[in-house]
Symmetry: C2
Subunit: 158 residues, 2 copies
DNA sequence: GAATTCCCGACCCTGCTGGTAGGATATGAA
DNA sequence: TTCATATCCTACCAGCAGGGTCGGGAATTC
C-alpha cells in the first residue's frame, strides 16, 4: 500500500510553485533541476495538475507554470486526487464495474461486504488527513527547514 | 495507491475465522470454497498471519486455523500490518535506507522534507482508522448483512 | 528565425503482484 | 499401516502497471 511516485513528485512540484511569486511563471526545467527529477517525466505529472485546474501554464520563452489559486486555498486531497486519479484503498473502490479483486461473496448487488466497511474507514482517514492539510502549510514548512545549515545536494539515487 | 489483494483476502480470512467457534479449527479449503478464492494462494496469505501470531494452526486431518485471540482483542492495524508488511504511504517510509523514490533534496539527515510532513499525516490517518476497528466489529457486520436478503446498502461514506 | 518552453503520444523496461506447481510433513481414521 | 486430509514450504511464472525515455509539434518571445 503505497502512493505512486507521481504523488511524491507532484506534491513537490506544487510546493516548489508555492514558493514562487505567482506573477512570473516557473519553468519545469528549473523545478526538475532544483529537485533532481527527470524533466520528461515531470511533464506527465504536471499535465495531471493542469487538467485538474490546479496549475496554469504559459508556453514559449519565459513561459512556465504557476498555481491557479493561492496556496492556502488548495487542500492536498485535491492535489493527490489529481495525481493518483483516485484516493481508494482497494481496487473495487475506484470503479464498481471493473472489479478485479473479488469484492466478497456478494457479486450481484452493491451490498457492502465486511471488508468494505474497513476500507471505507481507511479511505475516510486518508481523505480527512489530506483535506486538513493545505499546500500553504507545506510551503511554510519547506521554507522553515530550508534555511537550516545543511547544504542542498540534489543527490540522484538509483 | 491501493492495498494489495493479500490485504483483502487476509481480512476476509480473518473475518471467516472470527465467525467460527474457536474450539474446532477451520480448514483453508473450507474458507477458499466459501469465499471463492484460490487455495494455494490463501496458503501464502495465511502464512503471514500465522507468523504474526494472529492465527494458530493444527496440521493433519481435521486440522485448520483459528484465531489466536478473541476477535475483540484484535485490531485491524495488526492484521493489515502483518499482511502488507508495513503501513506506509511512501516508499521511503518502509526502509529509510532503501530509498528508491527520491526523498527530497535532503538525503543525509532525517530532516523532514515538506512532503514527509504530508505523508506522515496520511500514515497517521490510516493507522488510526485501522486501530479503531476491531475484527469483532467486522465479524458482527458480516453476520448482520449475511442474513439480510438484499435490503440494506450500508453506505458509510467518507 | 532561433531559442525557449509547453504539449502530446508512443514506446520501453524492470519489478512486483497474483497465482500455480509440487512436494514434504503431520495427524486422524479405517 | 495405509490412506485421506491438512498444513507447510519453496520455487517458478506470466501479465502488467509504474517509472521513465524519446521525438516531435505548437506557441511565444527576443
Amino acid at each position: 500500500m503505497i502512493f505512486s511516485s507521481k504523488a511524491e513528485y507532484g506534491v513537490r512540484l506544487m510546493v516548489e510553485l508555492g514558493r514562487q511569486t505567482p506573477e512570473q511563471p516557473t519553468s519545469l526545467k528549473a523545478i526538475a533541476d532544483a529537485e533532481g527529477l527527470p524533466l520528461a517525466y515531470l511533464e506527465q505529472v504536471v499535465a495531471r495538475l493542469r487538467k485538474a485546474d490546479l496549475v496554469m501554464s504559459a508556453r514559449g520563452a519565459h513561459g512556465g507554470y504557476w498555481l491557479a489559486r493561492p496556496a492556502d486555498e488548495i487542500t492536498m486531497d485535491e492535489v493527490v486526487q489529481a495525481l493518483e486519479g483516485s484516493i481508494a484503498p482497494m481496487e473495487c473502490f475506484v470503479h464498481d464495474h471493473t472489479e478485479r479483486v473479488l469484492c466478497s461473496h456478494e457479486p450481484d448487488a452493491g451490498r457492502g461486504c465486511a471488508t468494505k466497511l474497513l476500507w471505507t474507514r481507511v479511505q475516510g482517514g486518508i481523505i480527512k488527513s489530506l483535506q486538513t492539510t493545505t499546500l500553504a502549510e507545506l510551503v511554510e514548512f519547506s521554507r522553515r527547514t530550508d534555511r537550516a545549515p545543511v547544504e542542498r545536494v540534489p543527490t540522484v539515487v538509483a
